[in-house]
Subunit: 205 residues, 2 copies
Amino acid sequence: MAGRREEKREDLKARLMEAARERIARDGLGNLRARDITQDAGCALGGLYTAFTDLAELVIHVNSSTLKALEARLTLPEARDKSPTDRLRNLAQGYLAFAVEHRNLWKALFDHFPPDTSPTPQWHLDEHLFLMDVIAEPLAELQPDMPPEDRAIRARTLFGAVHGVVSISLEGRFVGLPLERLAREVDELVVTIAAGAERRREADA
Amino acid sequence: MAGRREEKREDLKARLMEAARERIARDGLGNLRARDITQDAGCALGGLYTAFTDLAELVIHVNSSTLKALEARLTLPEARDKSPTDRLRNLAQGYLAFAVEHRNLWKALFDHFPPDTSPTPQWHLDEHLFLMDVIAEPLAELQPDMPPEDRAIRARTLFGAVHGVVSISLEGRFVGLPLERLAREVDELVVTIAAGAERRREADA
DNA sequence: TGTACATCAGTGAACGCGCGTTCACTGATGTAC
DNA sequence: TGTACATCAGTGAACGCGCGTTCACTGATGTAC
């Protein structure tokens, strides 16, 4: 049977990714060790380097799958026909929920800086862009006359604002807030920004 | 002459801190090495451990001085008698300017996580609080009826939002924005939030 | 289908090195008289 | 003020170890006939 090799290879890759994912989720990216991963995956230490060029590449693949999971979480059809403001609110709450539930995987998205010798590949950088698109879409409805370029920047700003509020609470430099309270802060922030956008549209008209 | 020893000791501490500060500012916290610091400071490697318990403690002292510099930048008397909204705008622009000008020192404030064996001391955690106070003060003027506890939380949210927008641009995961454009985004965000607060006050009244 | 050879994925002991921290030593500072 | 001794800040070579990566080997998979 042809492809037995490729089959095993894919299986090894999958086991390594799953092991790395679980290690990161449990102990955080900073405590990720090649030896732990390969042990969990049931292969020798060197096996990692037959499946991936190095540990950094494996982490990028884990982050890639985390981004896909986040995307799935944020594009649930539930909010399809709500108002743009409510869709933005849903996005923010979804982002918060995802960050809380997968704290370490979510942190790894922002904490992984591979060395200059093997920088993050473009295909992975591009994977972040869906976040901007998914935000830009309700924004377009709120302010249809805004040029798409400005809208893209505004989407980034909105993401940055929500991400910042969530980070500050979950990274633990400052004292933590009860989750419901944090959710309310995020919600009010988004509502305020959305209302601001709408007022700006009216002012322009 | 008494105190010659203490004098030298203080001098060594100061030289080490200055050397560490410059290294972090130039190469970033992640590239900080005990050997580089002591060489720049003109002492032996072991000298670091007579002045500080370990490298992490030295970094905390550098971060402490960075926070003091930030505080000085944010409490300039220039905006004393402006409107609360304008004072918030000034704070945000000052924060952005500081982050841009001292990017690596500013990053170090958020990137330094000492090991569990010697966690960040309380006195240093407390040093972050001035940020909240300095934001809470204009907020109090915007919404005098808001309970101080909620105000503290709201200050944190506002800080998180501005910090997030600034971070996203300066940490370079996403494509960079021209500084003026970034400044405008931050400004509009603050104006929007301040206006939202004011409208909320009017609604309550 | 079976046998002989070729390939190459996977193995795991060994490498290498970066780097924080230690510690036996010494020479400058402080103390006693 | 000067001398003898005590202290201890500062020295820097050596330690130690964590950990990513390599590489000579081997056994499973693939190919040829």
